[in-house]
Assembly symmetry: C2
Homo-oligomer: 753 residues x 2
């Protein structure tokens, strides 16, 4: 690490950083160029407008609690609960999904106000019909671990900050005889609260929980909330009616159960008086929620929590440090920020966590994580975590193995969500995550145990027609939907399983899975040079329209024209099937100009360049295939174009669902100039770096630096590469060249070389 | 204990008893007269017909699991789920309430059958419309810890037995290709399952839970069930439809969540083949349910479990041993049996239990109990447990104190039901339970802590207008329903609080509560010589009909004419108010001939002798008041008449709800010749014993024997009494004369003496 000079003012910042973050300056994440802490480059609003489905609220890295404003609770398109274009806020809930395509979470809503509280949210068209409040982006700000907005209906300033399992709200009221805080336990995004309870534990503390039947079909969220001032008065509303003692026989007004519960605390406030609420959550019970709260926020230090979380972010963001323009840095560090929002810690301070069997387990020596959007994140998000967050990646794998142990189906997670399996999407992509981590030297999980889970999962005869696939060599479309996509993704997953079998010395398994890895060939129709559905008798799907998406058809969220390219583990084989590199390239070129028929079910996938749809994951590896076909300059041009057009620092900059960081991870890799086309393999394809310099601190302690000389917006083509000073002629970068640290230097130019 | 001879055949029985029960013969509970084990006198069907609301199934003493057939799941009148007059059985569920007036429990139903299973219960009128089956009492038997019935629709013999937290079903099938066991998780008596899940853990094990919003508003029951044979096939039905993988994307057929779930195991059976199921329950999670199961029933020894539980019952029943006719013994030991069915252990084998705050707590060094029907059981049931089950009574008190600690209202339980408070009935009758135990020398709870809870409860300003009562001296009827009954019961409870305050040396508290204990005087209207509602201005209720029950009026489940007698702690004071013993007796006589107006709300209270209604608790102490007024012979005549007419050994023998053993405890005390008119005071009123001899093994190790000389059906009057050989002239028996053991001998005759 090179020595630096601090101008006086920045020196103060550095000192504060040292004090606040308790780390040496080298890891505070202050940019060596401009002295601005990396955390200040993050724009949490990126992706909140349109398809990104991110949220702007306050969260710690991989935090269990993620407090954020909700503007929408019904629409599928607003899966995170916040849409930048909305002009009113429902309230502030405790948990959120980053960038998924399906809504859930948004648990337990806090709403401050003045006047007579309303106990329903009200509508966007008429916010005043409920507790919804108009707000203005002028009076709103967000940074990692902090969010602030002014609610225009009441003049209350709301500030949010978050530790790992507990967060705080600071509510600054106008002078009022009728200030209130409403807590709506019936609030959840999109789905249904099937049960809840609330208890007023004392004059300033409530606890409660709700059970949600949502995308996760049985999900428990417990909370404990302490208020900085004793309630002047309080009440509970159930099904729209006040819970009160009716002088017949006693009925507690301090506790209630049901499907629709609201608690409200009432205050007389002085002008500008802050009322703070600290709230802990747990998936197990309210006692643990309280323990989480007391462990993380023992006092009322809102600014302390904010500073600590800011420090955590700064450190995490510093795992890759870039040089570049302000916009590039904002885009890059926001991508890092989004990548580090999920998967989430899902374990209490006690070490206990709720397992997939809904029992309480204890993670001894590791941390349990939840929310695995694996169909997305196996592609680039986990491969990046394996490099720069290896300890967490190992624990994510330990979490998947625990899930496997607790699974009645004996399956690794498919799309698991807080002690539930949504069975969303296809494949068994926990396999590439584990294998890639193993082959990249991630320590901290038991490889033999992991392989056993991989093998059992990949052999599970009950899952999505894997048995027929194993027998026939393809998933027959007359037996199973999305048969082409499943065949292709199974084949890739099997390649990964084979790689791990080989590494563990299991030669028979290696042979078996490598054979299955070649299954893609069985559905390649040479008549079209395309992947095509085949039934259990071996007959091709007819009629066959390769540009058309059919719901329940052979392709997952796309077309045959797109999915045909999904042979990441054997691009050479695919090239051969297509008759060589020239024909392969010609066909690949056509992808970026052809058009799919518009169809319901994929109409919300944006980021389109012809039939290449960057807004959805099946396209993510495609631009790099030119590297395999001898025309890497096309890759270079494309990835720079994608970075330029599909990413940015604005609320509407994300062209598709961030998908728990996959979209962001794509950007991060590519900004550095390479991309893991085939996680579980040895290397990466080289693209075209978009930033001048990137210094990646590997989890193994080494540092890998990428430098782009002569970089400009026009200079998208790689002219030459040196790796540790040696000329490098391949458009691929092996992991072995990264792991020991080093330096790759790209020399860029305006024309292909 | 006297020496005995065993005839050879009985000697074998004794040996078997020794082996089976691992106790010396003295405690095996074999009757010294006839050698028949006491357990064989129990008639579990007593109280199953009509108002008794008992259940005939299999349970261990105070057991957490109580497996029993359900014939009815909707009617309030069949609170235990079983009505002897019903001719069809729905199935066999795992938990039951003994003798309450409101249904709940009946959790998780097991139904064997053959053919195509139906997934709805069907109706009594047309059992074949569902899984209901006709049955015959000819083919049904029940004994403590064991129940058997033949289901006539399928020919399956069902046998049930129970350990403490786990039980077994032995299902003997005909030869069938389509035998099944259905498990209906949506089954609960009367109320609603709001959520449930089920998991097929392996080829012969399922786990699951349901959450019930019932009388207990949020109640969790988890279970784990192992089947003795792997399923030939199985399925889950949700909302009437099979849960199955539909080849779109994977859906597990081995787990489901929802409100209406049924699991069915399918078998091919040989004729007479038994399939056994062992099932454990827990209020915490399925892992604990499994631990309970494995701890208590590690093997498939149905007969072992049955014998062990039979042994436990025999020992518990032996705490009082009587001589008498077979009918008397059956009535007596059945009463003992019913008394020992509740409160129930509510704690897992791990020591963990679900508390009133729904958190998991650990009871270290004590056992947590649940189901406290305190308005009933404080009268005689707990006073009897204090004598012969002191350790359990102490832990019941520890359980109440834990409830208090966990109560947001800072109240001891009123009518608590498995980690819930139903707020059923009136008063704060945990107080007399605790005080009576304390004054009777029950050890094992912290007296100062208990008193603190008593004081806080009795001073709680939020509860049922206690604050107004404390201020005014009565509960004002314009502010609170049931004001007369509440005033009277509060005053009695306060007397108990005062007694404990005095014992602990809290003189001021003693004075304070003794003053409140005199509050009954404030609502005594000398114009009527009756208790009468008074409003907050001191005006009497008008119009005033002392023989009429008014729903929401001044009296709880009865009339002023009945409740006027409720001054158990100061009968002398009541006599004085009424102008002396003669007028008191004249009025009391009239109770047994007057008639209440028939009114809705009390029309189901039976056991009527004039306006004395033995079928409900407010009358239970009244017959003994003659003892205080110089005419104990009237008490003697009445109690013998009540025992003769309101109790017995037949299904319809119980005239009223057993109310968790209170009706039974009344009988047990009276069979021995005395009754606790005022628990928390020093003694008992002497009645008229109905059995020749009763030997009560006190928990302190001493033995108290009652002997009735010259006893016959006509000889109901006590001619003379000796206590330890000394003549005894008082119609009261002080606790001090019992606690050290001893012998009371009644000489009976046909005429009052």
């Amino acid at each position: 690490m090179r020595a630096r000079h601090f101008p006086p003012i920045l020196f103060v910042v550095a000192i504060v950083s040292i004090l606040a973050f308790s780390r040496p300056p080298a890891t505070t994440g202050a940019d060596p160029d401009d002295g601005i802490p990396l955390v200040d480059y993050v724009r949490p609003f990126v992706g909140t407008q349109g398809e990104g489905n991110t949220f702007p609220g306050a969260a710690a890295p991989f935090g269990m609690i993620q407090l954020s404003p909700d503007t929408e609770k019904e629409l599928w398109e607003t899966a995170s609960g916040y849409e930048y274009s909305d002009s009113s806020i429902i309230g502030f809930s405790l948990t959120h999904l980053n960038g998924t395509g399906i809504p859930d979470l948004g648990d337990i809503l806090f709403v401050p106000g003045v006047g007579t509280p309303k106990f329903i949210p009200g509508s966007k068209a008429d916010p005043d019909s409920g507790y919804r409040s108009p707000y203005s982006h002028e009076d709103e700000e967000a940074s990692p671990g902090y969010y602030r907005v002014r609610l225009l209906n009441s003049g209350v300033d709301v500030e949010l900050t978050a530790a790992d399992r507990a967060g705080m709200l600071r509510l600054t009221y106008p002078a009022s005889d009728s200030a209130f805080v409403l807590v709506d336990l019936s609030h959840v995004l999109r789905w249904n609260v099937v049960w809840s309870n609330v208890r007023v534990e004392n004059d300033s503390t409530i606890t409660g929980f709700h059970l949600v039947n949502g995308w996760a079909k049985e999900r428990y969220v417990y909370f404990a909330a302490r208020f900085s001032r004793p309630f002047d008065d309080y009440g509970i509303v159930k099904d729209g009616k006040a819970v009160q003692y009716d002088t017949y026989r006693f009925r507690s007004r301090s506790e209630a159960t049901g499907k629709s519960l609201q608690f409200h605390a009432r205050y007389k406030t002085r002008r500008g008086e802050p009322i703070m609420i600290k709230v802990g959550i747990s998936a197990i019970n309210t006692a643990n929620a309280m323990k989480n709260l007391e462990a993380e926020i023992p006092d009322w230090g809102f600014e302390r929590v904010r500073a600590e979380t800011r420090g955590k972010w700064n450190r995490e963001l510093g795992r890759i440090r870039i040089e570049g323009s302000r916009e590039e840095k904002e885009t890059f560090y926001t991508s890092m920020y989004h990548l580090f929002l999920a998967p989430n810690v899902y374990q209490d301070a006690t070490g206990e966590y709720r397992g997939f069997d809904q029992n309480v387990h204890r993670a001894d020596g590791w941390t349990n994580y939840a929310i695995f959007s694996l169909w997305d994140t196996y592609r680039a998000a986990h491969p990046l975590l394996a490099l720069i967050q290896a300890d967490r990646d190992a624990d994510m794998i330990n979490s998947m193995l625990a899930h496997y142990d607790q699974s009645v189906e004996h399956l690794l997670p498919v799309w698991s969500l807080q002690a539930n399996e949504t069975w969303c999407m296809i494949g068994y992509h926990a396999v590439p995550v584990i294998v890639d981590a193993y082959l990249k030297g991630v320590k901290g999980f038991d490889a033999e145990r992991a392989y056993d889970a991989i093998r059992t999962t990949a052999m599970n005869p009950n899952y999505d027609n894997v048995a027929a696939y194993a027998r026939l060599g393809w998933v027959p479309f007359d037996k199973e939907n999305e048969s082409v996509s499943k065949t292709l993704e199974y084949a890739y997953d099997d390649y990964c399983a084979a790689r791990m079998a080989k590494a563990l010395g299991k030669a028979d398994d290696y042979e078996y899975f490598m054979k299955r890895a070649g299954s893609y060939r069985n559905i390649f129709d040479p008549a079209f040079d395309l992947m095509r559905g085949k039934d259990s008798q071996g007959a091709w799907r007819a009629p066959f329209d390769p540009h058309r998406y059919v719901e329940g058809g052979d392709i997952t969220e796309g077309t045959s024209w797109q999915y045909t390219w999904y042979v990441p583990h054997d691009v050479e084989g695919l090239i051969a099937l297509m008759g060589g590199k020239e024909r392969f390239v010609r066909k690949l070129d056509s992808l970026f100009v052809s058009r799919a028929e518009e169809s319901k079910g994929v109409d919300d996938i944006q980021g389109r360049m012809g039939e290449y749809w960057h807004g959805n994951e099946p396209s993510h590896h495609i631009a790099f295939l030119y590297c395999y076909a001898g025309e890497p300059w096309k890759t270079q041009k494309l990835v720079r174009e994608i970075m330029r057009t599909q990413y940015g620092n604005k609320p509407n900059s994300l062209c598709g669902n961030d998908d728990c960081g996959q979209m962001s991870a794509w950007y991060i890799f590519n900004a550095m100039g390479f991309y893991p086309v085939c996680p579980g393999s040895d290397g990466y394809a080289i693209g075209s770096p978009s930033v001048k310099k990137a210094v990646m601190s590997l989890s193994n302690g080494n540092t890998f630096t990428t430098i782009a000389e002569n970089l400009s917006e026009r200079n998208v083509y790689v002219q030459s590469v040196t790796l540790n000073g040696e000329k490098w002629n391949e458009p691929f970068l092996p992991y072995d060249e990264i792991k020991n640290g080093g330096r790759i230097v790209f020399t860029m130019g305006p024309k292909p070389k």
